[in-house]
Every structure is written in structure tokens, then in C-alpha cells.
Symmetry: C2
Subunit: 241 residues, 2 copies
């Protein structure tokens, strides 16, 4: 499995992805699931994927080939994030069919974050069927892959008005909860922040398995959870007969 998460707040878009690939429990490997395309001052894209690895690699190859061959529609010609999502969705459907005839095991879902000069920045989820949705103001995040373990913290804390630092922390806690509860999601964790309006490649970090910051974050969060439960009022039971 995989867990990728995008959070769109007023000042930026944060993207996080894990790096574990599994085909059965005895065939586990590490692949990056995050791709960054940048033309500073012009356009920025961050793409994350969850699903079939062959399909994902085929889609990435076509996106890059379309740029090189100057295809009529490619990441350098699309005029807004909506058109970028439409294009990637179309490539994804074609890749699923071309090599395999299609079918659920060959599906891939994408998260796309980015900004193009002259248009709004945006965070989109592109389904394996090629259609797509944008994040909303009410729910400022989108998830793909193993989404459930990391959802409660986002539902409780994530808001469009957060600072970027806080949104990154929400994302890392959500990722850590997933890694802890599910073996098929694992480090390194990749994080990118695209600052709204900057049109720069943004901040990027890869947090490896032995990363000290992540280890401290995990220990601190566990301690805070232990303490938080201790601060709750115990359930008051009816008087026993």
C-alpha cells in the first residue's frame, strides 16, 4: 500500500508521501512516490501516486516524453491546474489500457498540487478512471492509498487558516499514525511545501527511517497522547446496585 496526503492551506500546499512498495509481504521495496516538475517563475507541479507501480512509472514516463517531444498538450502547455489534472487523468487511463487491457489491479490514483502563472494554485485527486476533484475550503486535505489511520487527526486539527509549519506537523503526525498502524506504509517520508504565489520549487525534504527529527516527533506525540488521555474526565457510572 501507500499513503500520500496533500493539505491546501491559505499560504501553501503541503504534500507528503511514504515510500514502501509491496507485492505480498515477502516482496517489499522502496520507491519514491513523489515527482516534482518546476519551471521557476512559470509553473510548479508535485505529483504523488498510490496504486500499481508499473502504471505509475508508465504515466511518469509519458508525462516526461510529452514535454520532450513537445506534444500539443503537456505539463508545460496546460493553462491551469484543472487542465493539468484532465491531462494526467487521460494519460493514466491510456497507460492502464495500453499494457494490460485495464482492470482494478492496474489502477493508480494521483494527488496533484501545483500552480501555473496567471491561474490559481490547486490540489487535486485524480481517480484511476481519469476524473478528478479539487480540495475544498471545508476539508482542506486530500488523501490516497491507506487513508483511514491518518484521517482522525486531520479531521480534528486541519484548517485552511493554519500556518505552513502547523500543516506540516499535522501531515507528519497523520503519516506517523499510518506507518505505526500499518506495515505496508513506510519510510522514507517525502515532504514538499509549495508556497502560494511563489512559483518556486519550494521546500523539499526526505526523512529516512533513522531520521532523528521523526524519531523525536514520534516519541513526543506518544507522550502527548498518553498525557491527553490522562487529562480527560473519567466516565461517570450509574451507582452500582
Amino acid at each position: 500500500m501507500t499513503y500520500c496526503l496533500g493539505i491546501k492551506i491559505d499560504e501553501s500546499i503541503i504534500m507528503l508521501s511514504d515510500s514502501r512498495t509491496s507485492a505480498g509481504v515477502d516482496n517489499i521495496s522502496t520507491y519514491s512516490k513523489m515527482w516534482r516538475y518546476s519551471v521557476p517563475g512559470q509553473r510548479q507541479f508535485v505529483l504523488c501516486s498510490a496504486g500499481n507501480l508499473a502504471t505509475t512509472q508508465a504515466v511518469i514516463a509519458v508525462l516526461e516524453r510529452d514535454i520532450k517531444t513537445k506534444a500539443p498538450v503537456n505539463l508545460l502547455t496546460v493553462v491551469d491546474m484543472h487542465q493539468a489534472s484532465e491531462y494526467i487523468g487521460r494519460v493514466s487511463v491510456a497507460c492502464q489500457k495500453q499494457n494490460t487491457g485495464g482492470g482494478p489491479v492496474f489502477e493508480t490514483t494521483f494527488l496533484l498540487a501545483g500552480e501555473i502563472l496567471g491561474a490559481s494554485n490547486g490540489l487535486y485527486m485524480i481517480y484511476s478512471q481519469g476524473n478528478f476533484i479539487a480540495s475544498s475550503e471545508q476539508v482542506p486535505y486530500l488523501q490516497i492509498g491507506e487513508t483511514k489511520y491518518g484521517k482522525p487527526i486531520l479531521d480534528r486539527v486541519a484548517q485552511g487558516k493554519m500556518t505552513t509549519d502547523r500543516a506540516v506537523l499535522c501531515g507528519l503526525v497523520s503519516m506517523d499514525a499510518t506507518i505505526r498502524s500499518n506495515l505496508t506504509v513506510g519510510p522514507p517520508i517525502e515532504v514538499t511545501v509549495l508556497t502560494a504565489g511563489s512559483l518556486q520549487p519550494g521546500r523539499y525534504l526526505k526523512l529516512e527511517e533513522d531520521n532523528e527529527y521523526m524519531r523525536n516527533l514520534r516519541i513526543t506525540w506518544n507522550k502527548l497522547m498518553e498525557e491527553a488521555v490522562g487529562q480527560l474526565q473519567p466516565l461517570v457510572w450509574p451507582i452500582e446496585g
Copy 2:
């Protein structure tokens, strides 16, 4: 869907269940998913179910009929929790086949907690295939139904040495996370505590949708999560070029 949770700590076993039943989003109803059988001083059982409602009701009817008709094996004759689980698993498989011929949509999974005079108390998960597992010291909880949202808090906090009050709080936070993130799990929440060695029916509460304690718990927990994120060290980025 459903979310039921059992936590076995040194001093007791805590059982929690939601009450939402759905057959499609426009056919939502409320059914208790917790059954309690008690012969004070002799034997105590708490049974929770997740799965097909017709199968569940059939199993409960057979368990009660077997007691009335004094069947050779019934909840009043089994000598330990292992045999109780075996018996319920057998009844479940028979009920799935009898009315339907079997098949995944007719499956039901059970959590069984209890204690019988002369034997150890126990917490078991009975699969739809009739086989079953006990909780372990390392992982002192078992879940059925929509288990993922409520798992991270248990993985971080649940331990066999907890007090009963603390285990109940862990369970309620886990249940609340699930209710908040998933529409198919909903109140009332039922909670039972079976104190180890007491052989009494134990404490029981049904927390309705408008329950003030649960509302306060939710507000307090949200506030504690907001504060906890604020106490984390922000990610340190490499110096930007």
C-alpha cells in the same frame, strides 16, 4: 458498518459498540450490537457483532434457544471461554449457511468477552469462518468492523497495566475518532466493563447521541489535539538556496 472494540487489561475487560446499521446511505437505522448474558457468581458473557444483521440476529436467537432447550452445548454448559468461542463460531457458520447458502454478504464477526467460574477470563474475536483468536498481552485489544480510524490511539496508549477508567477513555476516544471520520458508525455507544474475577454483570452504560459527557469528551479531546500539535517542534528545513 460497525465499530466494536474490546480491551483486556489486568483488572477488567472493556467492551464498546456503536449502534448504526446501514443498508445503503438512505437506509440507516439503529440496532444494538451488544448482548450480555449473566449468571452472577457463575458466568458472564458480553458479545458484540459486526456484519450481516440477519445472521447476527439468527445467531443470538440460536444461543438463547439452546439455553432454553438445554442443548448439550450452550452458554450455560461451556467450561471456558475457548469452548464458548468454538460454540458461537459453529452456530455462526450454521446460521450463515442455513438461510442463505453462505457468501461474503451474509458474514458476521464477533467479539466475545467473559469469564466462567473456575477458568480464566478472556477476550476473543470469532471470524465469520467460525475460527477465533484471543487477545494478547502485547496487543491488549481486539476490534471488528470499521477498525482503522480508531487504531492509532490504541496503538499509542493501550497497555495491559492501565486502570479501567483509562481503558474506558481510550476506548471512547477510539470510538469517537471512528464516528467523526466515518458516517456508517454512530451512536448510541454501549460500554460494558467486566471486572476480572468478580463474575458479576459489571458496569454498563448506553451513551445516546445527545449525551453531555460524550459531547464534552469530544470537545476536550479536540482541544487537546490542537494543543498537542502546537507543542511539537516544527520541521527544520535545509537552508533555502
